[in-house]
Amino acid sequence: MRVILKTKPRAKPRVPIEAETIIPQNFLRNDIRVYEGNKERRLEDLFYVTVEGPAVSPDQVEVILMGDTGIIKRVGEYMNAGRIVIEGDIGMHCGNFMSAGEIIIKGNADAWLGREMRGGTIRCEGNTGHYCAAGYRGEKRGMRGGTVEVLGNVGDYAAEYLCGGEVHIHGNCGDMPGVEMRDGTLIIGGNCSRPCGNMTGGTCKIFGIAGQFLPTFHRIGTEEAEYKGKRYPMDAFRGDIANRGKGTILVKR
């Protein structure tokens, strides 16, 4: 089943839409409601909805979002199957807690993309905001599984509290990627600054320049790593010593 949701023109286009109900498993039934600001709306009030074909399980559902989607928040929260394709940009908290399935974003994503996700795949073809694949306030464990791939650049605190799965950023990162990381893999294709403060485990590979590298990492030698079909010599570091950490950072020489 393909569900195409195209945004309708709204009287107040800057009022955000809270759409945690837009997940494939919900489209097996009718009557999905979302919030526009603090007003509850039917899905049909905000979107032109086109449904093609049948589905008996959420795996067979593909949701396509089109139009002015950059202000829609929490799409794909708690998603556990199926596929969501976003033709444009997407708002904050896309793919929170998702456990399986696939989200593809053709434009940019706002902050908190794939926050605390447990599994599944997110691919963003543009840039993302801060806290990409991160944890949340007060919580000690962030993303626990699955993969997040960003073809563009990301903001600060990417993969904060990462404790499983893989985060791959092709472009540059902002400040403090992988801070408080506990496990999992973070791959940064571009540059970043102050990576992996307070990390206790996991691996971070940086194939650009790591600026303001923290002094609390201990150099343990050199290694080789493969990235996009080429092999690079890498400097290997262990830390964060300040936190008795046993994480590894590999930085391209």
Partner: protein, 566 residues
């Protein structure tokens, strides 16, 4: 004049000697009466279990440390969210919910009176403000005296009357209800980064021992004729082998009061560990239960833990530091000048951890091994052992050995070697549960004279009707039904008004705060005592005249006045 008639109720009212009878309850103006007119609102209870309103005799729901738990756990606020609806405020939180969250959840479980386990006197205003925002329960505040300098000086001088005078002044200044001792002496030692390790360990700079503090306070409490006894959190909480300290403490207690216990030991589960390290920790609940069974003048509460996430908060600062060294997570530490300390950390009790499983077993063993339910209250030391919303599950565990076996199958299989729980086949009945959740508490707290905890004419009309038919079910097999029934009342009636129905809160509520005011002779009134006044001027950051809580903080304060025997 409002009148209410509850018909066909299956009443268990231990304090009035009613052990399960179908009867009608008439209510006029918030009191139970003999009969009401024909115009009364009628509730047909259809034979459902009807009990006096629940009383929690030890729970941390209001005050500065609870609020600090809220600050430091934004992740906790993500759970338990409910939207504004009718008269209900927005609520959120699981182990440290908002005050309205606490109030509504207690109310839907049929609880109408709650004792806040520890209020630092200096921070009483905040506690009273939160009491006002807990509108469905009458609140009482245990007041901390464990590291109080004036008390320790009186103890050093062996002057019980002086200690009583300090208690009387402080309780009425901060509108407290009773004396709480949390790790007596240890919280003062914590100001120097130390702790006391037995009841005979001297407190730095004061040359008194915890044993002397406990002895003096028990006697001072009786001199003032306070409604409740001393409420003691023993030394060495959570230390393997600490059951010896607990037994030594119990052995010292004299029998001083014919109406109630002389010492209330709280969350005894945390004080009943054998062994010497975390590796060989074992249950000593049998020893503790034997000691309690031999002494009818002791009352305890279980301090049951339940598996899952929660937040520990206590005035016992050094103990929280030890916990922090185990968990290496967030930690808050606090010292209240001249009075006490506190600490908070979030914890997760896991079924995979043998230590946690043994702790879980000990709480249940205490409730099952203590023969007289009047001596053992049901409590989790909310939220230290578990949030109070777990009470119904604990009730079901106590009423069904089959449920205990089933739970036992899911926890660490070695638990049985370290704790005798699975060899105990006692199952508590409805009467025992009614005692352990309301009547026992009312008696132990000494608030029966205010009409709490029973349903005879003259009592306050605090009534809980649960969707359970005791004559038609067997709790040992229908344990799930028991747990579900106790978690949501059909009706909760508070002072003659229906406050919650089928899990929905329907009125705004207006609670009272109950405090103790002991009348003392003029020579024991510390307002005129030059030494006491000087202590304030020298050491406190607050002036003595600014210290007492003004009446504006207690919109509906109720004083239990007593005549002291000083």
């Amino acid at each position: 004049m409002t009148e209410l008639l509850v018909k066909n109720a299956f009443v268990i009212d231990p304090l009035s000697g009613v052990k399960g009878e179908i009867m009608d309850l008439a209510v006029r103006d918030g009191k139970i009466v003999e009969e009401v007119g024909s115009g009364a609102v009628v509730i047909d209870a259809e034979g459902y279990l009807t009990l006096p309103g629940g009383i929690d005799s030890h729970s941390h729901v209001c005050g500065t440390k609870v609020n600090f738990g809220r600050y430091m756990s934004p992740e906790d606020m993500r759970a338990g969210r409910t939207v504004r609806k009718g008269v209900m405020h927005v609520t959120s939180g699981y182990s440290v919910p908002t005050t309205f969250g606490n109030s509504y959840r207690y109310s839907t479980m049929g609880y109408t009176t709650v004792l806040e386990g520890a209020m630092a006197p200096l921070e009483a205003r905040h506690t009273h403000e939160e009491f006002t925002a807990t509108p469905h329960q009458d609140m009482l505040a245990n007041t901390l005296f464990d590291g109080n300098w004036s008390i320790m000086e009186a103890v050093k001088d062996k002057d019980v009357k002086r200690a009583a005078a300090v208690v009387a002044w402080t309780l009425s200044a901060v509108r407290g209800f009773s004396i709480k001792l949390t790790n007596p002496g240890g919280t003062e030692a914590w100001g120097w980064g130390e702790d006391v390790h037995s009841i005979d360990d001297p407190v730095p700079n004061f040359e008194v021992t915890p044993a002397e503090i406990i002895d003096t306070m028990i006697r001072a409490n009786e001199l003032l004729n306070l409604p409740h006894s001393v409420h003691l959190h023993c030394n060495n909480l959570g230390v393997p082998g600490n059951y010896r300290t607990t037994l030594e403490t119990i052995e010292r207690v004299p029998d001083l009061n014919p109406d109630r216990q002389s010492l209330y030991l709280t969350h005894v589960q945390f004080h009943a560990y054998g062994g010497s390290t975390w590796r060989d920790i074992c249950s000593k609940s049998e020893d503790i239960a034997r000691a309690v069974n031999q002494r009818p003048y002791i009352a305890i509460d279980m301090g049951q833990i339940m598996f899952g996430r929660t937040t520990t908060m206590t005035a016992d600062g050094p103990m929280e530091f030890k916990l922090y060294m185990l968990h290496h997570n967030k930690w808050s530490n606090h010292d209240v000048e001249l009075e006490t300390a506190s600490g908070i950390i979030p914890v997760y009790y896991s079924r995979k951890s043998l230590v946690n499983c043994v702790m879980w077993a000990i709480g249940l063993e205490l409730a099952l091994l203590i023969k007289d339910p009047w001596q053992c209250m049901l409590a989790t030391d909310n939220p230290n052992g578990a949030p109070f919303v777990k009470y119904p599950e604990i009730i079901a565990l106590l009423m069904s050995s089959r449920y205990r076996e089933k739970e036992g199958g899911m926890i660490d299989p070695r638990t049985g070697h370290f704790a005798p729980l699975f060899a105990i086949d006692r199952e508590l009945d409805w009467y025992d549960i009614a005692v352990m959740t309301r009547a026992g508490q009312a008696k132990a707290l000494g608030i029966t004279r205010m009409g709490k905890g029973y349903l005879a004419p003259g009592a306050e009309a605090d009534i809980a009707i649960y969707p359970l038919k005791p004559d038609q079910m067997d709790p040992s097999t229908d344990y799930q039904q028991v747990a579900a029934g106790f978690s949501r009342t059909l009706y909760t009636i508070k002072r003659g008004r229906i406050v919650a129905r089928d899990g929905e809160v329907i009125v705004e509520g207006a609670n009272s705060t109950i405090w103790s005011g002991a009348q003392v002779p003029h020579e024991y009134d510390l307002n005129h005592d030059s030494e006491f006044v000087k202590k304030f001027e020298q050491y406190y950051t607050v002036r003595m005249r600014n210290y007492p809580v003004q009446d504006v903080y207690l919109p509906r304060g109720v004083c239990i006045g007593t005549q002291s025997s000083l």
